[in-house]
Symmetry: D2
Subunit: 153 residues, 4 copies
């Protein structure tokens, strides 16, 4: 069974944030992790693109009622029709969460992940005591996987 | 149509937090607002007790599959069977959110409420720029109602 | 603690169906039950109108993201933002379900209620072995309450 | 973008039902469809096993809070923590639904799928006018894909 890592990030973001998200997706895929995200554009699409570049798997849990808004890099796109409530599903689906930049949607995913005892790794995101700060995308992937495996044991 | 105000707070809390939550429920009911919460004990039960003392209405959106865990002060108890995901329902159901103390569950509700453009008023809770800090329970109720009505207009 | 009875029915319906739904709401309220429904128009609004006429309580679990589409007879209106998935919440929230006429949405609520071991009473609805056929609205309310209380014991 | 077909069926079933479900999974995978199901055992596991035998992809939307109950044949396992409400997610995630045998859970998925305008193909399941009856698993897969593509156009 692979490790699943959720990636939370904004649907619109500056180029350096997108680069970071793409690198996170790449580093996760290199380590065999499945990437889970909200399935839309911006940092979500970037993480999926990174995963795809390494032949990895990504899953998008979409807010809308159909697959139309899915980004093109997803391996699997699941429309939930639950709107923003799908953030809770994204947080739950990962064995750990990596938050990349992010606004209030990302904050809700961090809150959910922590409430559900999922470890959270941050890359330029909300500064909270429980969020493990990563130095760069490879470090974020490394830490998320180590914490996820520690949690499973 | 009454204004609905969600109250987020921990299921277990110190006496002064419970007192604050009860006063928040009381002040909301006095102003004719419907109190929405997660329906369990601690700060949630306290807010409902406060609302009940003023003859107000409170609604609990429970995480479990039945009404067994509902606190005794609720006017209406709705079991969602969605676990912690019901936090998103609580945040959505209010025209504004008052966060009282709180842990990660409360953080997820704050994130959700902000994402859904609900104003958030805080009483000894997470310090975030978008959270309006209240001085006391009456001030929290007053501000939440003013912000909720401003949002509706 | 009152008994909660969910009422499932179409958002648009013939006058005799609406009359039946209104009578169901009335008969439930007379017996002290809380009416839960999908909160929109048609048979849902009729059931709420009936409950209101007897001074009863009705709760609407709305599919949309806000309270705008709520019918005017509801005591409590909760926007879920979950679209048709809120049918599952409606089925879960009742100690029993009364299905009035109904299309596929009602069918999904019947399936859910049966899966969740809620007794289902039908009034001119889908004919399934597990659905108890009522003769008229008073009979439907009577049976739903008896079955709900049997289930609780 | 591949076509997604949801497969609904019981968690415990007679050998011939399991054989049918496995054949449905196989026939869907042969035609390039992604199989979506509730992720547990019985007919769900059988459909995933069939898809896996053909190198296909299957996605399980689990009722529980973690991946522990996932069957071993799933490509992707998503814990929803929503209990039986995840049936609505399963119905929504497919461009069509194939119902194999089935009890009340399957009935709820059929109701949901029809409500959401997804075509439903049945193999020894609930007899409803709107359910297209298939002769055998290959016929079920063939019809589901044809109907799904007609819906998309």
């Amino acid at each position: 069974v692979p490790v699943y890592v959720s990636v939370a990030g904004p649907g619109e973001a500056a180029p350096e944030v997108l680069e970071g998200a793409e690198a996170v997706g790449r580093e996760l895929a290199r380590r065999g992790a499945v990437v889970v995200c909200g399935g839309l554009g911006g940092a979500m699409a970037a993480a999926c693109r990174g995963a795809a570049a390494e032949g990895g798997t990504s899953v998008g849990l979409l807010p809308g009622p159909d697959r139309e808004s899915a980004n093109e890099w997803l391996t699997v796109a699941i429309p939930t029709g639950m709107g923003e409530l799908r953030n809770g599903l994204v947080a739950r689906a990962g064995d750990a969460l990596i938050a990349v930049d992010g606004g209030y949607g990302t904050l809700s995913e961090i809150g959910f992940a922590l409430k559900l005892r999922r470890p959270v790794v941050g890359l330029g995101t909300w500064e909270l005591d429980a969020v493990v700060v990563a130095e760069d995308p490879a470090d974020a992937a490394e830490r998320a996987l180590a914490l996820a495996q520690g949690r499973k044991r």
